[in-house]
Amino acid sequence: MSTPARNISAVPEPAPAPRISDEEALNLYYWMVLTRATEERALNLYRQGKLPGSYYTGRGQEAISVGMAAPLRRGADGDWLSPWIRDLGSYLVHGVPVWRMFAQFMGKAGSTTRGKDGNLHIGGYEWNIPCQVSHMADMIPLTVGAALAYKQRGEDRVAVTSFGDGATSRGDFHEGLNIAAVLEVPAVFVAENNRWAYTTPISKQTKVTDLYKKALGYGIPAIEVDGNDVLAVYSAMSEAVAHCRAGRGPRFIECKTYRMAGHAAHDKYESYMPMELLAEWSDKDPLKRLEQALREERTIDEAKLEGIRTKVKDEVHEAVERADDDGFADPSEAHLGVFAEADTDA
């Protein structure tokens, strides 16, 4: 008996894009505006010396962070989402309240980690978001494991993680993808190819600059999408998630985009990033593009968009106030929580 041939490593047929309703599109707009406003406010606070540690923004990559999270199921019984540091929007869409993001940056008791971890190392069981291991690509094998748990228990849940182009140089990327393919787990890998890793351009990172081709090499169906078009990311992600839920193994989506600032807020990127390219990509700003699509292709009222922007402004303002008013966890808590049993000698 012969098994039917199955060409799993082929680029999947582009499914006819399901029409995204105006309501869905406006919902994406809300999350994009909220993401940018939250980041801008946090960046200001950082510059004023009110946020410690280091600060990273995903300006210009909001279409990915929002578009990848929006099709997922939220909550403790929902889908696992492990976003990369550029993806503040993913945390918001997946359910983390805005004020707790600010509390996290400030290290307050109301942070998602009670001040134990900082910046975008946000996590919580209630959202099914794991605290991030900041070593690049480390979250890929973990995501495979979460997907394996769902498969093993027969649940139609999906595990998703995102990472940068630089992460594809790490062993964990390659081992993780290979295992995902061999075990046929319901995982979606989202590569954010913003063409830079710190100050290293992609040309010096890898000879295969179309990252989806790496996934094809492991036998994972993979596509590339315009990472500055939230509707495109959302469609691709919806399709990939449905494929996973149907038990058809992992998927890989490469989002082509550009890093619109330095690696971190303290990075003097003017010294190494070509300014012409930045200007060019600035015209492709995902928020501007969505606004244009909403206004011109969907003839949505400017007043409606303005209403969303005003709502977001108020939300962010309130969130910062609430985080500001929050206190710090008691220093004695530094010594708690290493093991499940509180009195175990750490």
């Binding site: 410690p52 971890d117 070593h135 690049m136 710190y198 290493v338 750490a346």
Partner: protein, 330 residues
């Protein structure tokens, strides 16, 4: 004698060795055009070109392994790992290859490689970016582990490490890069590996430390000196080879020993030294050997929690006073 920063002292050592020996080359992430995440390689890519100052993709296990192979073939790579926290993804290459090859080849093949990497905590960089893991490496035979705490040692020990025929883990410290100090003008100045230094003389207690904790120890000694208590501070400088004799000589004089370190005490540098001191100075001790380390937790982020976890001067001082009280000096 010139005043310069710890960072600049390291840079000069690299510059001198690149100029002296064509087999020396640097390798790591962001170390070329960008001059390294902490600017230790400033100007070297421009001066020596991309083959002597090699920029790599983000593949720590790959380029540490490549460094070992190149060293086995007679080159002298100086590999930079952005911070010691990232060496964890290259552990297999360091422990299973770098540290074992000479022995496994019956002494015929060596690995004359240096891995430079900064560690340390205190800037709210959280659990995965605030570690002091040097004791783990020092626990493994076959790799030398050093951690200079002064500008002159940073310069002199890095040059010695590069000339050494065995692998050396050269531990720098994030907090120390901007610390200034004096450096001898002698371009041939080097500092041998495996020798501790008494950096402050005293008669009441020996306080042993390495890396940034030496500075904390000196501040504690100054504070307590105002109360008439004289602490002798020993800068360990090397963790392997470990100069227990210099420590023991000091303890024979003071009869009390306290070891402070930023890493975890359990199975740490203090644990090893305590065992050596008990053996070498059993009859001289007026009190049990004591140690202070970072709290036995992953480093938390928020400032109040981080301060609670760091081995601050106040904690070192309290331990010192406890030891003195225990042996009859208030």
């Amino acid at each position: 004698m010139a005043d310069l920063t710890y960072r600049e002292a390291l840079r000069r050592a690299l510059d001198d060795e690149l100029a002296r020996d064509p087999d020396v080359f640097l390798m790591g992430e962001e170390i070329g055009r960008f001059e390294g995440s902490y600017k230790v390689t400033a100007g070297l890519w421009q001066k020596y070109g991309p083959e002597r100052v090699r920029e790599t993709p983000i593949s720590e296990e790959g380029f540490v392994g490549a460094g070992i192979g190149a060293a086995m073939m007679g080159l002298r790579p100086v590999v930079e790992i952005m911070t010691i926290n990232f060496i964890l993804v290259a552990m297999d290459q360091v422990i299973n290859h770098a540290a074992k090859i000479r022995y496994m080849f019956g002494g015929a093949v060596g690995v004359p490689m240096v891995i430079r990497t900064p560690g340390g905590a205190g800037a709210q960089l959280t659990a995965q970016h605030s570690q002091s893991l040097e004791a783990w490496f020092a626990g493994c035979p076959g790799i030398k582990v050093v951690a200079p705490a002064s500008v002159a040692d940073a310069y002199g020990m890095l040059k010695t490490a590069i000339r050494d025929d065995d692998p050396v883990l050269f531990c720098e410290n994030l907090v120390m890069y901007n610390v200034t100090g004096t450096m001898p003008d002698d371009p041939d100045y080097t500092v041998p590996l495996g020798r501790a230094a008494v950096v402050r003389e005293g008669s009441d207690l020996t306080l042993v430390a390495h890396s940034y904790t030496v500075q904390r120890a000196l501040r504690v000694a100054d504070t307590m000196s105002r109360d008439g208590i004289e602490i002798e501070v020993v800068d360990l400088r090397s963790l392997r080879p470990l100069d227990a004799e210099t420590v023991a000589e000091s303890v024979r004089k003071t009869s009390r020993a306290l070891i402070a370190e930023e890493g975890w005490s359990t199975y740490g540098v203090g644990a090893e030294l305590a065992a050596r001191i008990h053996r070498l100075c059993f009859d001289d001790l007026d009190a049990p050997v004591e140690r202070v380390g970072g709290a036995e937790v992953p480093m938390p982020y928020s400032k109040p929690l981080e301060l609670a976890a760091l081995p601050l001067e106040s904690k070192i001082e309290a331990a010192a006073r406890g030891l003195l009280a225990e042996s009859g000096i208030a």
